[in-house]
């Protein structure tokens, strides 16, 4: 890591932080159809306050938190697994959260506004425990990936089962809509619920940078450089499970941010996992805030779901990535 590249990372982070701040402000002041608040309409100042503080602020905060968590954990997992195609969903926290939320919907456990997030978070933690049980004490990358695939498949199967057996079409629709992922209609209590886990999880991933750098030379060399591959694995997986589990439990599934963001940054900050972590968190937040502003401009009909937009943009990018990897592999 040369001095020049340190300066470059500092510049990138500053630029991204400014972008995040601007998008955060836009997220608070731009409404449906691009309506600008408080300027456009003559509203009671009390109503404006409610819109700004109880509707838009939690939405913007969630966008910030979810985007940062997804971007950071994507970069962390790609570093840990030494695979540019890894994404946060791999550890099963997202599909576990979906299952947990579905269980809450299915059994009608509407014990308050936080029932779904709590159910989702419990689901993601169960998925994480299952991953640990399957992958065992080893740190083998392939075992970890296969265990993740198994956990995802199992959680997906149970989610489908719940949909299949849903007592009413309304319940099924509710489940599907939640799974599409959105930041709309979330309250400050959602933010407060998710924040501690998200922050703790992100701290675990953020502090793994040097170990991830060492792991880019394989486990033996990482160990010979003074790092425990096992400790790094536990930190990154647990951190990802906590952070992604917490935000996905509140927002529903939001795909591709964690996969794509680190790739956007590699040409700028380089390939070191440690150099990608903070910029990926910032860029993830910027991307998600921007996408969430974008969904407020529907051409006609209902507001687009955020998860739909990230997937629509992310999937072609993913394809481009695979083709590029294949070309360079030839």
């Amino acid at each position: 890591m040369t001095q020049a590249s340190n300066t470059r990372i500092a510049l990138v982070c500053t630029g991204l932080a400014v972008a995040v701040a601007v998008l955060f402000a836009l997220s608070i002041f731009v409404g449906r159809g691009g309506e600008w608040l408080p300027a456009t309409r003559d509203l009671d100042p009390g109503v404006i306050d409610i819109i700004l503080y109880q509707v838009r602020l939690p939405r913007a905060l969630l966008g910030l938190m979810a985007g940062a968590a997804l971007g950071l954990c994507g970069a962390g997992l790609q570093g840990l697994l030494r695979n540019p195609l890894a994404e946060p969903g791999l550890v099963g926290a997202s599909s576990g959260a979906a299952l947990g939320a579905v269980v809450v919907f299915y059994f009608g456990l509407f014990g308050g506004a936080l029932a779904v997030p709590v159910g989702g978070f419990i689901g993601s933690m169960v998925a994480l425990a299952l991953l640990y049980a399957l992958a065992g004490r080893g740190v083998d990358v392939m075992t970890l990936i296969l265990a993740g695939v198994a956990v995802n498949a199992f959680a997906g199967a149970l989610t489908s089962l719940a949909l299949n057996l849903a007592p009413s079409p309304w319940a099924a629709l509710e489940i599907v809509f939640w799974m599409l992922g959105s930041l709309a209609d979330r309250s400050m209590s959602h933010v407060i619920f998710a924040a501690p886990f998200a922050v703790a999880g992100m701290a675990l991933v953020l502090t793994s940078g040097r170990a991830l750098d060492a792991l880019s030379l394989g486990q033996d060399t990482a160990r010979s450089l003074g790092f425990s591959p096992r400790a790094a694995t536990v930190k990154v997986i647990l951190g990802t499970g906590l952070a992604v589990g917490a935000v996905v439990s509140v927002t529903g599934m939001i795909g591709f941010v964690g996969l794509v963001v680190p790739h956007l940054l590699r040409p700028v900050v380089g390939h070191h996992p440690s150099r990608l972590l903070l910029p990926s968190a910032l860029a993830g937040a910027a991307v998600l805030l921007a996408a969430d502003i974008l969904v407020r401009f529907p051409i006609r009909g209902p507001e687009l779901k955020l998860g739909v937009v990230t997937a629509l943009i992310g999937a072609p990018f993913f394809l481009h990535l695979i083709l590029k990897t294949r070309r360079s592999g030839e």
């Binding site: 890591m1 001095q3 060492a214 880019s216 030379l217 033996d220 010979s224 003074g226």
Partner: protein
């Protein structure tokens, strides 16, 4: 001045013994070749010395058992270069070499001037200065081997353990790497290298450890270790000797299957 001592070192994979009671001591300023046929336990032994695998017996660095030395401190004392070392991201050569400074850096700390100097020195020693900004995945086999060696040299550890550093290289690059290892040893370090090329091992090493079936068959200066009897017993190969410029040259010549 740092030395390493192995006492009755054993290591097995399940019921299969890989190293069976090896003892030796080696001090600074020497390039020690670890030789022996495939499956003799060379890689297992060097991985045990690097504290990468559980083993029986004792390994001490400067009299302290390796397990009592902290992970970070050990990483600064003993550098290790794996056989067919993977590089999972297309770093520049300089960034790759900089990873060797990780044991010297605290979290979130950039490279100090000491680190930069160590990197420059390692690049120069491995003749890679001109390649510093090249991505690792664009290097040829010989350049890549030198870049990886520079990464290990950048640790500036008093003990360097290298596993088959010259396998898969052409003669020019083999000699080049051996010269670097010998120079690093003669600058005051202890270098232990797993080697297959007996001719180069004899030419460059100060001392050879010959392993057979997990045991030390011979230990001493190359001229004493690479005698026909030892090489036959270990490799089932007969050697011919030749003297060139006053130095003995040993060449494996033919199989000997009727032992």
């Amino acid at each position: 001045m740092t030395s390493i001592r192995a006492t009755d070192l054993t290591l097995s994979f399940g019921d299969l013994p890989a190293v069976a009671g090896v003892s030796f001591e080696a001090g600074p300023g020497a390039l020690v070749g670890l030789i022996g046929p495939n499956g003799a336990g060379k890689t297992s032994l060097i991985r045990a010395l690097a504290d990468l695998v559980p083993f029986g017996g004792a390994v001490e660095v400067d009299g302290s058992p390796v397990r009592r030395i902290g992970r970070r401190a050990f990483a600064r004392l003993v550098a290790y270069l794996a056989q067919s070392q993977p590089v999972h991201w297309p770093f520049s050569v300089r960034d790759l070499v900089a990873l060797g400074r990780l044991p010297h850096r605290a979290a979130f700390q950039g490279l100090s001037w000491t680190d930069q100097a160590a990197i420059d020195e390692a690049l120069a020693l491995a003749a890679m200065t001109g390649f510093a900004s090249r991505p690792v995945d664009t290097l040829s086999g010989g350049e890549r081997a030198r870049a990886l060696l520079a990464r290990a040299l950048a640790v500036k550890a008093p003990i360097l353990l290298v596993d088959e550093p010259i396998a898969a290289l052409d003669p020019y690059h083999q000699i080049e790497i051996m010269e670097v290892l010998r120079a690093y040893a003669e600058a005051g370090a202890l270098v232990i290298a797993v080697l297959h090329d007996l001719t180069l091992a004899e030419r460059f090493c100060h001392r050879l450890l010959l392993l057979r079936e997990g045991k030390l068959l011979a230990d001493g200066p190359p001229a004493e270790v690479l005698v026909d009897e030892n090489v036959r017993a270990a490799y089932r190969v007969a050697v011919i000797h030749h003297v060139h410029d006053g130095q003995r040259v040993t060449v494996p010549w033919k199989r000997v299957d009727d032992l």
